[in-house]
Amino acid sequence: MTGSGRVADISGSRVSSSWMGSGLDSYCHDEPRGGTSDESLMERTQEGDKEAFRLLVSRHVDRVVGMARRIVGPDQAEDVAQDVFLKIWANSRQWQPGQARFRTWLYRVALNQCIDLTRRRATVPIEQAGELEDDTPSPEAACHQNQRARRLRAAIARLPEQQAIALTLYYNEDLTAGEVADIMGLRQNAVESLLKRGRQKLRALLLE
């Protein structure tokens, strides 16, 4: 994948009011209604509460792995997830409640970890680069849905980086264009343009 990564401002000042109260709340299906919120778990994490952090990891690890699979590929997705959560732990005291929602922060850290990895990989000499993913069905691909997910992943991997990220956040993570814009540090119309161009390319890759 190519293209430049993007910045997001952790202050969340560009977060539009349209999603502050609803979008990500409804997304977090792992969080029990009336249960401990991410933010309160994060506050406990800031005090060094490992159990609270374990709960956060358990709640979001699938999300981070899923996102990483789409952006960096399945082989390194779990490594990315480890690094993301270790970064969250190491920098937990720098997260400030009220400035950014935990999940926005998590997505940004995950996204940048993915971008770091894709850039490092881009500089690996070709003789050191790993094999390209072939079409041989893996054990994981035994299931039809997994096969389709694998094919989609391969198609997304052929998109420019920013298009791949926008599509992943919008469709796999079910975020709104406004939320994606906030995480990527872009204007919403820029994200919409990425979605449009990404869809056009994917249509050519998957349907034609």
């Binding site: 910045v7 690890v61 850290v109 971008i115 850039r119 869809r199």
Partner: protein, 180 residues
């Protein structure tokens, strides 16, 4: 809503009308009921949506537990960092580092940016300090300019050449002094 607008929104947001801009949903629904062109575009877009909405399968139970345990086991390798102090920068401070495509956000997480303006990454290579350099240079240059103008006009009063020429000379000298 025209079929063209419908198609444009469809190409951005896909077939799930609940994800369309709120103020366009009703018009889109109405158009879908009446326009064959819109129905065709919708059916075509649905084929792509069927792909795009495929979710990544969750980790299996054992793999998930192992990953969570592995993360928790490694926590002691990292020491939580204190939040950075937000102090005013002065010219005496080391300049911010300009590293295209990468910057570290105040929260300590690595962020990437188009501009790349931001403080230096602790482990990053020493890169050209363009941001800080420009700030420092700008202050120095303004000071030199003021001195040069004052000196140039002062000298010009006693010289046979016009004061504007002397001011120009002063600017040239201060420019050279400032390293430009």
């Amino acid at each position: 809503m025209t079929p063209e607008e419908f198609r444009a929104l469809l190409n951005i947001h896909g077939c799930d009308l609940t994800r369309w801009p709120h103020d366009r949903r009703q018009a889109a629904t109405r158009l879908l009921e009446t326009s064959e062109e819109a129905k065709g575009a919708f059916a075509e877009a649905r084929r792509l949506d069927d792909w795009l909405t495929i979710k990544e399968p969750p980790l299996g139970g054992e793999a998930r537990t192992a990953l969570v345990d592995s993360i928790m086991d490694r926590l002691d390798e990292t020491t939580p960092e204190a939040p950075p102090k937000r102090e005013r920068r002065s010219l005496a401070d080391p300049p911010a580092t300009w590293s295209p495509g990468l910057r570290r956000q105040p929260d300590g997480a690595d962020w990437h940016g188009v501009t790349g303006w931001g403080p230096a990454t602790p482990n990053g290579p020493e890169t050209a300090s363009l941001g800080g350099l420009l700030q420092a240079r700008a202050g120095l240059w303004l000071a030199c300019l003021a001195l040069g103008l004052a000196g140039g006009y002062g000298l010009g009063m006693g010289w046979t050449v016009g004061s504007h020429d002397a001011a120009g000379l002063g600017l040239l000298l201060t420019g050279a002094w400032g390293g430009w």
